[in-house]
Symmetry: C2
Subunit: 228 residues, 2 copies
């Protein structure tokens, strides 16, 4: 067990299903665990693949090997079962590939804009966008969709349209780009990724929504939180 207070950095993208589930579990843990501060680090999943030289359009347009129909069928079932186990509301969007095709660049820039202008609302806007996809099967690409994600969590019309304008600003674009490039340099290859940082600054990396139990173990915290 690590001594002293620790930080967990969560690297996530609102359009990734396991990232969404991992986000929900981790934010819940952060409310229940006394020994940890959670730091949300939005990144662009597509940008990570690009940074690694992986053509992520292959995920959408072609089968990538090694895979199979069996695995695809299992994965479809597993994400739902996994989310249910942790009591995270989850529905499969009817056409998830359409979300992948459009990507999360605009959505993650909105997340970044909120992080910069209203840092206390970062968790809420991230959840609002993910829930559109994974609960309500609603777009997160069009202007109206992004505005709705903002007003849903209590931003006024004016605040929401200001945030929407912000996604075209250089500082917001650059901030998302730098976060993503930094992640690639740190060895990140997908989301969700968790960095557990102890009080000496020592960093340990965990990939996947299914490795949080190890972080709990390191912190001497209870596992599992609120399972059915």
């Amino acid at each position: 067990m690590l001594p002293g207070r620790c930080v967990v950095e969560l690297l996530y993208d609102v359009v990734s299903p396991y990232s969404y589930v991992g986000f929900e579990i981790m934010t819940r843990c952060s409310r229940e665990w006394s020994n940890m501060d959670l730091k949300l680090r939005p990144v662009l999943a597509g940008g990570i693949f690009k940074g690694l030289g992986i053509d992520h359009t292959k995920f959408v347009n072609t089968k990538f090997s090694p895979t199979s129909e069996s695995r695809a069928r299992y994965n479809q079932m597993e994400i739902k079962r996994f989310a249910t186990h942790y009591d995270v509301p989850f529905n499969h969007p009817a056409d998830f590939k359409s979300y992948q095709r459009r990507g999360s660049l605009r959505a993650q820039r909105l997340v970044k804009a909120v992080q910069i202008d209203h840092p206390e609302r970062l968790e809420d806007i991230s959840r609002s966008l993910s829930q559109r996809v994974f609960i309500n099967d609603l777009d997160i690409y069009e202007d109206d969709s992004l505005l709705q994600a903002c007003t849903k969590i209590g931003f006024s019309q004016l605040e929401s349209s200001n945030l929407l304008k912000r996604i075209s600003d250089e500082d917001v674009k650059t901030s998302l780009k730098s976060s993503t490039e930094k992640a690639v340099k740190e060895g990140v290859f997908g989301v969700p990724t968790y960095f557990l940082i102890d009080r000496t600054g020592e960093k340990e990396m965990f990939f996947g929504s299914d490795r949080i139990f190890m972080i709990a173990h390191r912190l001497g915290e209870n596992w599992m939180p609120n399972t059915r």
Copy 2:
């Protein structure tokens, strides 16, 4: 929680690292849990890939996408950390690719021969072979290696050499082939795979050494067993 006594079928291959760790965790659970019978089902991992039309030599000789150096580095660390968490002895073989290149056909046939001729020793021979690879970095391909795996667990010289001869017998070969083909038909795409079968015969599939906690949850059994 499932009512009544259940069966868990564990599909595994002694040369797969996560399969080995999943085997160790599950056999330990089976000794501690009162509500479950464990049924070991050796299969040929390479045969599953072949059955799915996946060229598994690509795993050995080339990079398959999507992957990266970052991911490979992480995986190398993660399997060891995962095994350590569950108190399963694990060392990386110096050249794991050489094991993959030789494959586990002869080893899994030996496992099958033991399953047929000495079913009560099935768990032991499986562990004996996996431990050669993942503790002692010893070959599981040559005749002498297979003989040693047998004598190590108390088979006599005569029994061991009889078992070695058995791996060329048609019934042993056919048995491994049928098990593997049956697995592919059941939707299996890799090892370890667990089928949880309730008393009505209902089957639920779990893939991966990191999903046993869900089986525990279904069975109402304690999780986690003997972690450090």
